[in-house]
């Protein structure tokens, strides 16, 4: 029984790590630009497929229609593919900001919601043309065997996902709190006008925020592909859950978003252990409860400004 619990906890933390990364990606653009990329789901899917393409390209192997060979992900190729997917998604993030967000940012209305959703629909159509609708099995760089930890069966990819997610979030936190660029991002998040008075190029920071946010989504796609299979429809579910995690944790607090993502992942897999079909009901009831009692999220704080 204990083994089952450990197994559930590890998968919950791994999936939660992915939620946390994506939740963080929502928070990054929300705090700096007061907008979000509602095509984040498509960015996740694209990340996975760009990762697949990179694996095949780097290994020189041919992929089947529904699976790619295990050796393609071996050694340095998986991290290299992850990096490529992150960068490509980051560049796409700059594009979506320039084309679909900036024309509407800071203006009244929510046009950016529609324009980013539209961008996502276009992306998905392009993706379907290139890669087709079938899911592709992606190998894990550590193989698809099962590790035994205290009797519990743990998939190595789950450990990779968890370790990568934690590493990225620790680095992000350090950058935000300790470096010049992090302080500039916090300044823009607090007030773009005042930030510009510090000589900060607010526009550049906003572009950087979208690049970073989208890069994280692309990376999340590569990380989750060996567990969930790459599919152009996989991203939406992750984005929705991650967004919920961000709301639970507090959209304006990056650390809160990370906790929210992990809480959601662990909760989901625990409920799944008990009654799989109750998963969504419990998760979304929790979100509604949290919002009813703490509209700013569990870790969000209503800011106090002296007058």
């Amino acid at each position: 029984m204990l083994a089952t619990y450990i197994q559930t906890l590890v998968s919950g933390l791994a999936i939660g790590g992915v939620y946390a990364l994506i939740a963080l990606s929502f928070s990054i653009t929300f705090t700096t630009t007061k907008t979000m990329n509602f095509a984040q789901g498509e960015f996740i899917s694209f990340g996975a497929f760009i990762g697949v393409a990179a694996l095949l390209l780097l290994s020189g192997l041919a992929g089947g229609l529904t699976a790619i060979p295990g050796e393609a992900a071996a050694g340095w190729r998986y991290p290299a593919a992850a990096l490529i997917a992150t960068v490509v998604a980051g560049v796409m993030g700059v594009l979506i900001f320039l084309l679909a967000v900036r024309p509407f940012a800071g203006k009244r209305g929510m046009n950016w919601v529609m324009s980013t959703i539209g961008f996502g629909v276009i992306l998905q159509s392009i993706g379907l043309t290139i890669w087709g609708p079938a899911p592709v099995m992606v190998p894990s760089p550590l193989g698809d065997g099962v590790l035994r930890i205290a009797g519990a069966g743990v998939r190595p990819q789950e450990l990779i996902v968890l370790a990568s997610a934690i590493a990225i979030m620790v680095i992000f936190d350090f950058v935000m709190r300790r470096t010049r660029i992090g302080k500039a991002m916090m300044a823009v998040a607090h007030s773009p006008q005042t930030a510009s008075l510090m000589g900060i190029n607010v526009n550049t920071v906003m572009i950087g925020a979208f690049a970073l946010s989208s890069g994280l989504a692309g990376l999340a796609g590569v990380l989750i592909a060996p567990i969930a299979s790459a599919s152009l429809f996989m991203g939406l579910g992750f984005a929705l859950k991650a967004f919920s995690g961000a709301i639970i944790g507090g959209l304006t607090n990056p650390r809160g978003c990370i906790y929210g993502g992990f809480i959601l992942g662990v909760l989901e897999s625990s409920v799944g252990l008990w009654q799989a079909q109750w998963k969504e009901i419990v998760v979304f009831s929790l979100i509604i409860l949290v919002l009813a009692f703490r509209p700013q999220g569990l870790f969000g704080h209503a800011s106090i400004d002296k007058v």
């Binding site: 007030s191 510009s196 190029n201």
Partner: protein, 240 residues
């Protein structure tokens, strides 16, 4: 040094500054006085680049800066300590000061040295260097806002109501600091509710009424002008 020619500034359909022509010479302290809603803060925002200029021209050191974005103006030497202080409440006093020097890319040692200079000017900030800015009192936040603006090593310092909400003793301190900054060679454009104190230290001053410049003269002239005294110094015509 700074030259505004027939500047119009508006918030959408609401014109806040009309046809303003204002000049600030190198080394001067120039005051802008006027009632609530006269357009004083709007004028400073226009000079700092926070608002687009609808018509007219702003030049600084003989360069046209009318369309220059705010972060570039800071690098050229124009710093604004904004109305309502606007400190970064979620960052420490130290980090706020660091941000003031953001574009200068100072080495760690140079940054420390300059922050130390600000602490000499505002000793209260030294004891609170690691505190979040939101935990400072209003007066301390005002000092932080001025110190932060000074961290950019400005040639022209724009101060929007530095005395707002401060105790009389602190106001005295702030004005003493303004005078010392002028001695240090910084040109100052000062917007103040404390019109008498502002006019007393100002070389020249402008009176702004509903967006228009209605009067200008030396600080002393305006200080003794019966209309100014009646409108802004709380002194009636008969008493003057």
């Amino acid at each position: 040094m700074l030259n505004l020619k027939n500047v119009h500034l508006a918030y959408g359909p609401i014109t806040a500054v009309r046809d303003a022509s204002i000049e600030v010479q190198q080394g001067e302290v120039v005051a802008i006085v006027g009632g609530n809603g006269a357009g004083k803060s709007t004028l400073l925002k226009g000079i700092a680049g926070l608002m687009p200029v609808d018509s007219g021209q702003i030049s600084f050191e003989n360069n046209d800066i009318t369309r220059m974005p705010p972060h570039v103006r800071v690098a050229r030497g124009i710093a604004l300590s904004p109305e309502g202080r606007q400190v970064f409440s979620d960052q420490s006093v130290y980090d706020n000061l660091t941000l003031g020097a953001y574009f200068r890319r100072l080495s760690k040692e140079a940054l420390e040295a300059e922050i130390e200079e600000q602490f000499k000017l505002f000793p209260r900030l030294r004891e609170r260097r690691s505190q979040l800015a939101e935990t400072l009192s209003g007066g301390e936040q005002q000092m932080l806002a001025i110190a932060r603006a000074l961290m950019s090593k400005p040639k022209l310092l724009l101060l929007d109501e530095p005395s707002l909400g401060l105790a009389p003793k602190i106001i005295q301190e702030i004005f003493a600091i303004i005078v010392s900054l002028r001695k240090a060679g910084i040109t100052i454009l000062l917007v103040e509710q404390m019109a008498n104190m502002a006019l007393a230290i100002a070389d020249r001053a402008y009176v702004l009424e509903t967006g228009r410049v209605t009067m200008t003269g030396t600080g002393q002239q305006l200080l003794h002008d019966p209309k100014v005294r009646a409108a802004y110094l709380g002194v009636t015509h008969t008493a003057a």
